[in-house]
């Protein structure tokens, strides 16, 4: 039905895509897999005629034989939403916050010729029912809906006119695993029912392995391997496919050297937020963390797992002494940090955040960034001493000491995460909190960072508190795991036993929903 033939795209002369060819049949799910910068999103934009300014495209995009690249903008407008529709990664920003969801779904219809607004709204209602939002009114606004519900609204708008091809660009990356499973189920059902083609773009091999009939693996603007999903994933003819698969399931070698000294004790901690203001009154307070207790020993890796809003970030901030707690006690190295963390203790616990782009002041050089925690020491090293310490930390994370002079934008995401780890190491802490520290990274980069973390743990005897929603990663790097739901711990135990034989319903549901990469080879 739709075919891309030797599509080549340049932006201001820089090659982006090189002779990309693929075809998608009706009723087929085609998975396009690759790491960031591989050109998978650009392929989708070329299919929609939405290439950025300065881009020139060669080759052909054929829908039933006609080359779409020759179309005028008006021709494209008639196609978009009608024959080809698209949904995006971030449902939080894909909807207009000041329009009702009914109006936004109906908009697709009125643009493409449905004259009567009432008819359009009636169809919108029908499509929203189909995507599982029958309990949500047409007059609801996006902010009243959860992330998964918003993604459903986007899907309803995309399928409003029964397009023949739906492009889904990382449609579940921003969602929790249980929501992800539901959205993927919905997409699979829609493909069968509507007999449309689905181009599923993702970095997550586990997602495509359960969804796609055929896949193509992209790297640096080229398709390196393509074929039926099972065949590609089991035969792995291309070295890059093998590397990608190995990285996805990567578990670093770690020496389980847990010693008995307890470094961190959290005891019946409660954290409440004041309720929302309603006029002059406040609603009831929100209990974000509800009486949780755990300990972290020297050299141990502890995983804290849960979906967004479960309270894991709130708890993390309390442990770091950034937020006050309302009840309970947190003891770090035997000293209470409630209500205020003694300055001297801070140097012993450092943190690495998720976003490698937001973690650094863009106007500082690496030397100053990495040295910032020296502020905690009573006699911070100065001059060449300070530079030596920074160089030492950079070497520990396998960066060059010369990188000190650079600014953060000169580094890739993985390198920035190394800088963040160097910053966390500089005060020689005993505990490092890793708050979704590898979630934003590509799989191959993630594998190398996990190796680095394991290596540093062996070298410095560090304890890790590993906060994540990603079960695969937690399984790979932790000794013990805590599963958190709605402010409480529902299950705690050995990582292996929790993952192999989950006791609590919620843990079971989480593990069931997590896409699995079955490599029966």
């Amino acid at each position: 039905m739709i075919a891309i033939e030797r599509l080549t795209v340049d932006i201001h002369g820089a090659p982006i895509l090189n002779e990309v060819s693929l075809r998608i049949a009706q009723g087929e799910v085609f998975g396009l897999v690759g790491e960031s910068g591989s050109g998978k999103s650009m392929t989708a934009l070329a299919l929609m005629g939405l290439l950025p300014d300065g881009a020139t495209a060669g080759g052909a995009v054929r829908l039933d034989g006609a080359n779409l690249l020759e179309k005028s903008e008006a021709g494209w407008c008639a196609m978009r939403g009608n024959d080809i529709a698209m949904i995006f990664q971030e449902p939080m920003t894909a909807l207009n916050p000041v329009q009702t969801i009914g109006a936004q779904v109906a908009e697709t219809l009125t643009i493409h010729g449905t004259q009567d607004r009432r008819v359009a709204l009636k169809i919108a209602r029908d499509r929203l029912d189909r995507v599982g939002l029958s309990h949500v009114g047409l007059d609801a606004y996006p902010h009243e809906l959860s992330g998964g519900q918003r993604q459903r609204v986007c899907i309803a708008a995309a399928i409003a006119l029964h397009p023949r091809l739906l492009i889904a660009d990382e449609p579940t990356t921003a969602l929790d695993v249980t929501t992800q499973a539901q959205i993927l189920d919905l997409l699979r059902d829609l493909v069968a029912e509507e007999n449309m083609g689905l181009l599923l773009i993702t970095h997550d091999l586990a997602v495509v392995s359960g969804m796609a009939d055929r896949i193509a693996v992209m790297r640096k603007g080229e398709i390196v391997e393509t074929g039926p999903t099972a065949q590609v994933l089991t035969e792995r003819r291309h070295a890059y496919t093998r590397a990608l698969l190995a990285a996805s399931a990567h578990a670093p070698d770690r020496a389980a050297a847990s010693r008995p000294e307890v470094l961190l004790e959290v005891e019946k901690v409660e954290r409440t937020y004041p309720g929302r203001r309603e006029g002059f009154r406040r609603g009831p307070p929100v209990q974000a963390v509800d009486g949780v207790s755990f300990t972290l020993s020297e050299g141990e890796s502890l995983g804290l797992v849960g979906e967004s809003g479960c309270g894991k970030s709130t708890l993390t901030r309390a442990i770091l002494g950034l937020d006050p707690v309302q009840a309970g006690d947190i003891r770090l190295f035997g000293q209470s940090i409630v209500p205020h963390m003694p300055r001297a203790l801070r140097a012993g616990i450092q943190v690495v955040f998720q976003d490698p782009y937001g973690s650094f002041n863009p106007r500082w050089r690496v030397e100053r960034l990495v040295a910032e925690p020296f502020h905690l020491l009573d006699t911070p090293p100065t001059g060449s001493d300070r530079r030596d310490r920074v160089a030492e930390a950079l070497s520990a994370v396998h960066l060059s000491p010369d990188d000190m002079e650079k600014y953060p934008h000169e580094f890739s995401g993985g390198q920035r995460q190394r800088i963040a780890i160097a910053r966390a190491l500089i005060t020689r802490p005993r505990i490092i909190v890793l708050d979704e520290a590898v979630s934003a990274l590509d799989v191959s980069v993630r594998a190398r960072i996990l190796d680095l973390l394991a290596e540093l743990q062996g070298e410095f005897g560090l304890s890790y508190l590993f906060v994540s929603h990603d079960l695969t990663v937690v399984r790979a790097i932790t000794d013990r795991v805590i599963v958190m739901q709605a402010g409480r711990f529902v299950e705690t135990g050995d990582t292996r036993s929790v993952f192999d034989a989950p006791q609590h319903d919620y843990t079971q549901a989480l593990l069931r929903a997590a896409p699995r990469l079955d490599l029966a080879s």
């Binding site: 770091l320 002494g321 950034l322 300055r343 801070r346 140097a347 616990i349 450092q350 943190v351 955040f353 998720q354 976003d355 937001g358 973690s359 650094f360 002041n361 863009p362 106007r363 910032e372 925690p373 020296f374 502020h375 905690l376 934008h409 963040a420 910053r423």
Partner: protein
């Protein structure tokens, strides 16, 4: 090297030209402007008087030069007051978002905004007498809430970023984070706002002088030159046109500079280059 926006270049040239004129007038003017010589009054432009003389025989070119000095000095100090007090207040409000301090600062700002600046200026003059200093104070006070709001607005989104959290885990207090991390990152906003407030300051100074509340005779000022030329606008229109033109061109130049800086410093443009 990226091409600079055209508005930026034109605005910078105009502003620099006025600044140069003002600086030159500190040490040299073609004629003294305090001396009155009735015999030379209302001369047309000539070799001796490039732009002619006014009703008291003072050289117009010299008056305009010193007028530029007055305008720039008043606007500069007034903007300085606004930045010096407004930015710390805005940063403090952002650092303690939602607290009582935040409320007090921002409601105080609203209070100042609620008064027309001219009314305040008249009040100050009524109490302390008209002078350039009081004009500076009146204009300066109105710059405080402008800069406080810009600083707070620019700082709030930054406070949610991870590098601020990282600085907090490094034990830094809110004041220190505001100075080290927040201020450099809102500097572009402040520079653009300063240029725009500067041009508004020039206008305000001219307005206050026009109604007699600004710089007092014999110090020349564009606003008062306009006021004095008013009665002769049909017989000697150049007396009104020249100071009017000076105000318009200066304000235009500063606005172009501000717009150009806004484009040049736009973080979205910069990120693309980075």
């Amino acid at each position: 090297m990226r091409r600079l926006p055209k508005a930026l270049v034109i605005g910078a040239v105009i502003s620099a030209a006025f600044l140069a004129i003002a600086l030159v007038s500190l040490v040299w003017t073609p004629h003294p402007v305090t001396g009155v010589s009735i015999s030379e009054r209302l001369q047309p432009p000539s070799a001796a008087y490039v732009l002619g003389t006014d009703q008291l025989g003072r050289d117009l070119a010299s008056m305009l030069m010193i007028g530029a000095q007055t305008s720039i000095a008043v606007a500069l100090i007034a903007v300085g007051i606004g930045i010096g007090l407004g930015v710390p207040l805005g940063l403090a409000a952002a650092a303690n978002r939602g607290s009582l301090l935040d409320e007090i600062i921002m409601r105080g700002n609203d209070l100042i905004f609620a008064f027309p600046s001219l009314v305040i200026a008249i009040l100050i003059t009524a109490r302390y007498g008209p002078s350039a200093t009081n004009a500076i104070l009146a204009i300066g006070i109105f710059n405080i809430p402008v800069f406080a709001r810009v600083a707070r607005g620019g700082a709030l989104p930054l406070w949610t970023l991870d590098y601020i959290l990282a600085a907090r885990t490094a034990g830094k207090g809110r004041a220190r984070i505001s100075v080290e991390h927040i201020l450099p990152n809102i500097m572009n906003l402040l520079i653009v706002q300063a240029t725009i407030q500067f041009s508004l300051g020039i206008l305000a100074e001219a307005a206050l002088s026009y109604v007699g509340l600004g710089a007092q005779p014999p110090t020349p000022s564009w606003g008062r030159m306009l006021a004095e030329a008013q009665t002769m606008i049909y017989t000697h229109p150049m007396l009104a046109i020249l100071p009017g033109l000076a105000i318009v061109v200066m304000v235009l130049g500063l606005n172009l500079l501000g717009d150009g800086l806004r484009d040049a410093l736009d973080p979205r443009l910069r990120r693309r280059l980075a």
